[in-house]
């Protein structure tokens, strides 16, 4: 199609505007397609079945196509995430399955600790506190965090090097970050 070349260069919000303006489904299709890997993944997480997840992604597309022009959307990506989550939860409710709510609030951390660990923090006092707090961490947490943030090793790399299981590597890193955050805040007082 002639105009696919042009529309793939538009930003999300621009595609949305163009769709609202023209009603041409190619714009929304292009926009939605950018997110199919993420959408499919999230549906897999909640529905736990490849066929159901694919159906859910297509159903959502059909549902949004007529309705999306009515919404005021600031950041499409963030909005789409909450929409697909709700879509999956609705499907689960219809199936009357028990919905296991993930109470792990630490899915997304605040940026501060990440900035520090990724060496972006110009504040040398906090960097000093970081060094001191790292030394205080339990060994597995310190090793995992060092490998992940400083050596830039992936989870799979760390599993191979340390012999820890994948889930333990992840929890060492999560817990390590939390401990560092608490320790650094104490130090800075």
């Amino acid at each position: 199609m002639r105009f696919r070349r042009n529309i793939s260069k538009l930003a999300d919000e621009e595609l949305l505007t163009e769709y609202k303006r023209s009603g041409d489904t190619a714009y929304f299709g292009e926009l939605y397609n950018r997110y199919t890997p993420l959408l499919y993944g999230v549906c897999l997480k909640y529905l736990k079945d490849a066929d159901k997840a694919q159906d859910a992604v297509m159903q959502l597309f059909e549902q949004l196509l007529p309705k999306i022009s009515q919404y005021e959307i600031q950041v499409f990506r963030t909005w789409l995430h909450s929409v697909v989550k709700n879509h999956c939860l609705q499907i689960l409710r219809k199936e009357s399955r028990q919905i296991v709510v993930d109470l792990r609030a630490d899915l997304v951390e605040s940026d501060e600790i990440l900035h520090l660990l990724e060496d972006e923090e110009p504040d040398s006092e906090r960097m000093e506190a970081l060094k001191c707090c790292m030394a205080k961490l339990p060994e597995e947490q310190r090793i995992s965090i060092t490998h992940f943030f400083i050596d830039e090793m992936s989870y799979a790399d760390i599993v191979e090097t340390t012999g820890y299981s994948l889930s333990r590597v992840k929890s060492y890193i999560q817990n390590g970050k939390r401990n560092l955050k608490i320790c650094i805040e104490k130090q800075m007082k």
Binding site: S8, G29, Q54
Partner: protein, 200 residues
């Protein structure tokens, strides 16, 4: 696309690490990766099928409108459905799940042109830089020239891992980094982005 390679099972090395770190800042990515963790087989053929269906859906709609047979087709289909419904005892045929199509798909990658630029375009970005730039008032205040910064863009469009690749003077360098770090979003990309700021 980096996420594709990861979910196909390439989970080693710096690039995989980067994606995993991105997931710490991006709940959408994090949940998607969780979903893929339990996938027993390579999910990319499914993703390709989904993409194809969405794209062909567009075209079908356009064609239908082009040929103006929509109303006629609807009446025909409805009529058919009611006819069969009466005969079979009133229930409409069960809707087949959409994915049960027999398609021989090659695992061809789905090329996407990615344009590296600020989300709102370069013009708006340049305006932002001009408006928000705080020229140094210290020993660097008379420095004139360019600072080039390189950075990565996280899935939310925010720059990170910002570093100076061409330096002018320390305060100018810091200001350039600050402008990027606090500035408008960029379109997400896996590539490292380079941007030059002029101090005159």
């Amino acid at each position: 696309m980096r996420i594709r390679r990861y979910i196909q099972g390439h989970r080693r090395g710096r690039k995989a690490n980067r994606l995993e770190r991105d997931a710490m800042r991006d709940p959408f990515l994090a949940e998607a990766l969780e979903g893929y963790e339990r996938a027993k087989e390579d999910p990319t053929p499914h993703i390709n099928i989904l993409r194809r269906k969405i794209r062909s859906r567009n075209q079908r709609r356009l064609d239908v409108f082009k040929y103006g047979g929509l109303a006629a087709s609807l009446v025909f289909i409805l009529g058919f459905g009611i006819y069969f419904g009466f005969h079979k005892g009133g229930s409409l045929p069960e809707q087949k799940p959409l994915n049960r199509m027999m398609i021989e798909e090659s695992q061809a990658a789905d090329p996407q042109e990615s344009q590296i630029e600020p989300a709102a375009g370069f013009e708006a970005y340049i305006k932002y830089v001009e408006k928000e730039m705080k020229r140094p008032t210290d020993a660097c205040k008379d420095a004139q020239g360019q600072v080039t910064v390189s950075f990565f863009v996280d899935p939310a469009g925010k720059p990170y891992d910002i570093r100076v690749t061409r330096s002018l003077c320390p305060s100018n360098d810091r200001e350039a980094m600050r402008l990027i770090r606090e500035g408008p979003r960029w379109t997400p990309t896996d590539e490292e982005v380079s941007y030059t700021i002029e101090f005159d």
